[in-house]
């Protein structure tokens, strides 16, 4: 009897809550960003890519940086859900859905932003009509759509048992049809539980190589070219380690925000922050290692073609941004999290934000400096072709897409329990058995 009371409490605690004033303000701000971004995109559709400040040398800009950022942050879904689950880590259960919705919304906006970058978006279907398997872009299309489907399933299947709680307890009449549509077939039978567990296990195994593929292939969009700064065999591992770092940073930020505004202190405990903090430090060290690999060997050799690029990045025009990203987005957050006091919720929130912002800037530094250091000198072009600073339209679209991703996560948490109810109850039972 007491047991069912606890279950009851967990279920009501974790039910999605209506938006309060603060949420409304937050949504309002995000919507403004989205609307301005959409308006900028309409302008771009009308006038073409001339509205951007990309030109023939900086032929890719912050759209591509943003794409890489989205793909990177989406990798965390596979880390938290799959890697931790398969290694039998129990404490990560309350974080799985946060990680998975970050993955799904990020990968959705990654696909959108790549269409925004196209000169002829209306010819998108050519990828299917004339697609050639030898192009890394086609590899990316294949693995990203696969990753999207697996992530969606990994979001949905653990959500099915939670639908019974939503149908039973939710006071949202307007959303009830959706809960019924998505989960009324879930009767919590032994067979359903076994099947769902099996399906989740298979998906967890499947998503790891696919997750590695999406970001490795994304790194190959650069590494398959000859250009200084991109022509690197280290690129896949460098991208993956950075992706896990930014994803974990994103999860930490989301943990903090959901915990605070949904009053989830009993479910997302300080212990979770402590453990995520340790993981972030480990991932930070891994990323630092690949950064050293990426820059030290070319610096040692100083090949002529790399010289201008490396100088520009480390001591030249890009140096302030570069060192801010290295220290602000990697070293300082790690220093915060090494100490036990740093692994408390608030300092971790700050560290998480630094990691995410630093990662975005780092993606800009992966794309632009290389393009502005071609093999042949920049010549016979107007002066503004030799530099790149995004136009307001580019900023608006980039921020609009980031706001859009946050909006998807916000609405998801409004409609569905952000912490899995059924799994939390099950874990509670297990704990009591031991």
């Amino acid at each position: 009897m007491e047991q069912s009371l606890i279950d009851q409490k967990i279920a009501t605690d974790l039910l999605p809550k209506k938006f309060g004033t603060r949420s409304m303000v937050w949504i309002g701000i995000l919507l403004v960003f989205c609307v301005v971004g959409f308006y900028a995109y309409v302008l771009q559709l009308k006038r073409g890519l001339i509205v951007t400040n990309m030109r023939d040398y900086a032929s890719w800009g912050i759209y591509i940086s943003n794409f890489v950022f989205f793909v990177a942050i989406s990798l965390v879904g596979s880390l938290i859900t799959a890697v931790l689950r398969l290694t039998g880590t129990k404490w990560s259960t309350p974080l799985t859905r946060i990680a998975e919705i970050i993955a799904v919304s990020a990968i959705t906006f990654a696909s959108l932003i790549i269409i925004v970058d196209m000169g002829r978006p209306e010819r998108f279907y050519n990828l299917f009509l004339y697609g050639r398997l030898q192009s890394p872009i086609i590899w990316d299309v294949v693995v990203i759509s696969t990753y999207f489907v697996i992530s969606l399933l990994l979001l949905y299947i653990p959500l099915m048992p939670d639908m019974q709680f939503l149908i039973a307890h939710s006071k949202d009449k307007k959303l009830m049809w959706m809960y019924r549509f998505m989960g009324s077939f879930w009767k919590n039978t032994r067979l359903q539980r076994t099947l769902s567990k099996k399906a989740i296990n298979i998906l967890c195994v499947a998503i790891i190589p696919v997750a590695f593929s999406i970001h490795t292939v994304t790194s190959w969009l650069f590494a398959t070219t000859y250009r200084p700064g991109w022509d690197s065999t280290n690129f896949g591992a460098y991208f993956i380690s950075g992706a896990f770092l930014v994803g974990s940073g994103g999860v930490v930020v989301a943990m903090y925000v959901f915990r605070k505004y949904y009053k989830l202190e009993e479910y997302i405990k300080e212990e979770h922050f402590d453990k995520m903090g340790r993981i972030v430090v480990m991932l930070g060290m891994l990323y630092l290692y690949f950064n050293i690999n990426e820059f030290l060997t070319p610096l040692f050799k100083m090949k002529k073609s790399e010289e201008a690029f490396l100088n520009g990045l480390l001591i030249g025009d890009f140096a302030p941004v570069f060192w801010s990203a290295i220290f602000g987005g990697m070293i300082i957050p790690m220093l915060i999290l090494i100490f036990k006091k740093g692994r408390k919720p608030f300092p971790m929130f700050i560290a998480g934000i630094m990691i995410v912002v630093g990662a975005w800037v780092k993606r800009y530094l992966i794309v632009t400096p290389t393009l502005l250091h071609p093999f042949l000198p920049m010549h016979n072009v107007p002066e503004n072709y030799k530099h790149y600073f995004p136009s307001w339209e580019e900023w608006a679209i980039a921020f609009g897409s980031l706001a859009g991703a946050l909006l998807v996560i916000t609405f998801f948490a409004r409609i569905f329990p952000i912490i899995p109810i059924q799994e939390t109850i099950e874990e509670q039972h297990e704990k009591e058995h031991h």
């Binding site: 001339i50 030109r55 023939d56 196209m118 010819r123 192009s135 872009i137 086609i138 093999f375």
Partner: protein, 307 residues
């Protein structure tokens, strides 16, 4: 830029007159159609033309109108290229003084946007103690083209005659090819060309002529396959007063700049021809002859060079 030459090709060909003779059977959209409604104001100025049945006729000048240059070959033929040929170019660096006539001619015939150049002339200086020289740079038409490898939709392709072309009706504008090209030769049509007339813009696109350039797609030097089909040399070759560019067929082992013709193999052997960035393995079809015994001092080109 010195390439802002807006004068354009007029297609007042005598062929238009044959159209006049056929006016009776003209249908809508027929380029030879007489401006039908009789509202054409006569200028009073007569032009003598040869009709289809061999008669010399006189027509009013007002009836003449530009005729669109229809693509000589179909898209699939343009993708295949000319059988049995392997086109190569040889650039003699000792002859270049950065006059940029090549660039102007190229931009003019292809109606390239003022900000863009398909052909660039670089001031090159390998090291502070080595001599500077001018290096005209076209598309290398590589035999292992990195741009073709990365194109997701086969919009840029390698033909059997060695030419690398772009089909701007297929290009999705992802610009991966621009990132992949180590020679930075590719340009993007960020906006509609400002050097092309409305009429030319409306004419059917051909990837062999490269006209009209399409907004939102990638463009580049195409070795002028439309000229080659007419057994003529590419425009940069004929435009250079110093005969810097030699063009020809590797299978025939001959290259010409219009006034001089050489055996390709002998020229490369005797003058120690080389390719740009040979070490990358792209196997360019453009060869350079070193700037030895130069015809002009490097400084002569500086006044034209504006960066």
């Amino acid at each position: 830029m010195d390439t802002n030459n807006t004068s354009r090709k007029e297609f007042l060909a005598s062929i238009a007159a044959t159209g006049l003779a056929l006016a009776g059977c003209s249908s809508k959209g027929n380029p030879f159609e007489q401006t039908g409604d009789g509202s054409t104001e006569l200028t009073g100025e007569k032009v003598k033309l040869l009709s289809v049945d061999g008669q010399v006729i006189e027509v009013d000048k007002a009836y003449l109108k530009p005729v669109p240059e229809l693509p000589a070959v179909s898209n699939s033929a343009a993708r295949k290229g000319i059988p049995g040929k392997k086109f190569v170019m040889v650039v003699d660096l000792s002859r270049c003084k950065n006059l940029r006539k090549c660039q102007a001619a190229c931009n003019h015939v292809h109606h390239v946007h003022t900000n863009l150049n398909w052909l660039k002339v670089y001031p090159m200086e390998q090291d502070e103690h080595t001599a500077p020289y001018w290096q005209p740079t076209t598309c290398m038409h590589c035999d292992e083209p990195p741009c073709v490898k990365v194109c997701p939709v086969d919009a840029t392709f390698k033909r059997q005659d060695g030419i690398v072309l772009i089909d701007q009706d297929r290009c999705i504008g992802c610009r991966f090819c621009m990132a992949a090209c180590p020679y930075s030769i590719r340009v993007f049509n960020w906006e509609k060309s400002d050097t092309i007339s409305e009429e030319l813009c409306a004419q059917p696109y051909s990837c062999e002529s490269g006209v009209p350039q399409k907004i939102g797609t990638v463009g580049k030097c195409d070795f002028c396959p439309d000229m080659i089909r007419k057994s003529e040399l590419p425009h940069c070759v004929t435009a250079c007063p110093n005969g810097t560019f030699f063009f020809g067929d590797l299978n025939q082992d001959s290259v010409s700049n219009g006034s001089e013709t050489f055996r390709f193999s002998e020229l490369i052997r005797d003058k120690a021809g080389y390719q740009l960035m040979e070490d990358l393995g792209t196997k360019p079809s453009v060869y350079y002859l070193p700037p030895a015994n130069r015809n002009f001092p490097f400084e002569n080109g500086l006044e034209i060079d504006k960066g």
